[in-house]
Symmetry: C2
Subunit: 304 residues, 2 copies
């Protein structure tokens, strides 16, 4: 199953020609999940060819403009394009109030249902279905802010076609076997599940951590994450300033990745004081070699 | 004195790679006035090299997203770039409420004073200084909406250097002469002002008319305008739909330009149903030949 992340914006508060504000798309098969939605996100969705009418969940980390000001325009575009499919938006208190006020003054009633789910400080699992679970972890920032942790649900075991055929096991039994059950032959022989199946593909996971500082407590909560996006607004020589502003340095992002034993780290949310990400990437790789730097339009396959 | 219009966005509700939402910059010498501010306007300002910290007045026609959703991001950018210079925003009721709410949830107090002036239905002159006057005329749309009319103030006459020198007229008298006064020589001879001055450069004017239908009453109010921007969302074959939606066709835009005897017409706010503006331009030119089609980044010198 496809499980990939597309970076729509890798910059921070000030957009540049190369880096737009924060926004990402997480794709799982035909699901399209939007994470943050800075101004211009609908332009980036078009530019990078994302089928954005498929977005059914939007996660907003916090109410600084560079993380959500593109939402109202995107919702309006959904409406103008005739969307009827419902949409769920997970975000901080205030997001619904602002959005409804904008719709009210535009005298527009969207032609599709929008459900707002307000993030809280104490309820980490915020969504779950057959395929994924999502947790929202509050993180320290100048205003209320959350990190998001997306995990594939445990998958069923794969049938060993050769083995089941050799015992003439009926198809009706497959579901039970995929769920881990043994099978008893008419003569009473017990066939162990491991004889009839292969291990399922491993569960994959993605964590989105921005805007915040170095956070060991969060590292425990997302320990073992496969792909970690962590902000790296500054270089190490600006640690003090980063801490004051509740942001991270590239080194801190890498130390965090090491602490949670992430598979891969992608850093982003770079300050415009850096012309490119070279030094930020170099600094992070000294601590956590499997790091790369986000670029707008980059798609990353999430693997174990 | 420079008097020019730069198109930042020539599209309508749905942005495309070629046409962003409505936004324009009116420049008069070193004044920079922003008219409407759709999502992505700050990106366009950068892209087209406008010195946007110089913007001191913003005019917002109405609260449909494609005309104002870029405002919050622009105001935030002003703040992040250390602006201290005050800003005045003219717009519909609701604009201040939405903007203040966004600042409140971001827990950001802008580092520069913002004054909101709420547009009303009855007070046409909304701004005046030594150089320009501005009128806001309510126009029918699905929600409250205003057209803007920018006029240079009458200018002083130009001194005829040769003439004043030949009579040894002191420099201290120039101001009075520029204002139209005659000059009396010591021997009692009256020098007529026309002998001492040239006519001043003519007053120039610009009118911004979007989103609305064909409006003869408005044409009287802006009669003689030099440059007219008028929306032309649809072609003539969609007149009924245009009327229903309080929009105009290209032909109606041209008929309006003819009615107000505009110098030049620039049409914009094109529906995405048209791949380019060719047919819209052709339709308008059949009625009003001095028409051209807005393109993002186009700068137009306003002349008499």
């Amino acid at each position: 199953m496809l499980f990939s992340l597309t970076i729509l914006g890798s910059g921070s508060a000030l957009p540049t020609a190369e880096r737009n504000h924060t926004a990402q798309v997480l794709q799982m098969d035909d699901r399209v999940i939007l994470i943050d939605c800075g101004e211009g996100t609908q332009h980036q969705l078009r530019r990078f060819g994302i089928k954005f009418q498929k977005i059914n969940h939007i996660y907003i980390s916090h109410l600084h403009g560079d993380h959500y000001l593109g939402l109202a325009g995107l919702l309006s575009t959904f409406h103008l394009q005739g969307r009827t499919r419902s949409l769920t938006i997970f975000g901080p208190k205030g997001l619904e109030e602002i959005t409804r006020l904008q719709f009210d003054y535009a005298e527009t009633k969207p032609g599709y249902p929008i459900e707002f789910v307000t993030l809280t400080d104490d309820k980490y699992p915020i969504y779950e279905d057959k395929v994924i679970s999502v947790e929202a972890h509050p993180v320290p920032h100048r205003i209320p802010c959350w990190a998001f942790y997306f995990k594939e649900k445990p998958k069923k075991r794969n049938i060993n076609k050769e083995a089941v055929d050799s015992y003439n096991i009926p198809i009706s039994a497959y579901d039970r076997i995929k769920n881990g059950g043994d099978f008893v032959l008419p003569d009473g022989t017990v066939l162990k599940n491991t004889e009839l199946t292969y291990n399922p593909p491993p569960r994959r996971s993605y964590a989105f951590v921005t805007d915040t500082g170095f956070n060991p407590v969060l590292a425990e909560k997302i320990h073992g994450v496969n792909l970690l996006y962590h902000e790296a607004t500054f270089l190490h020589d600006m640690t003090e300033s980063a801490t004051d502003k509740f942001h991270s340095t590239a080194r801190q992002a890498a130390e965090f990745a090491e602490l949670c034993e992430a598979g891969q780290l992608v850093i982003g949310h770079f300050s415009t004081r850096y012309k490119n990400a070279d030094l930020l990437l170099q600094e992070a790789r000294e601590v956590f070699p499997n790091t790369f730097a986000a670029e707008d339009g980059m798609e990353i396959l999430i693997a174990v």
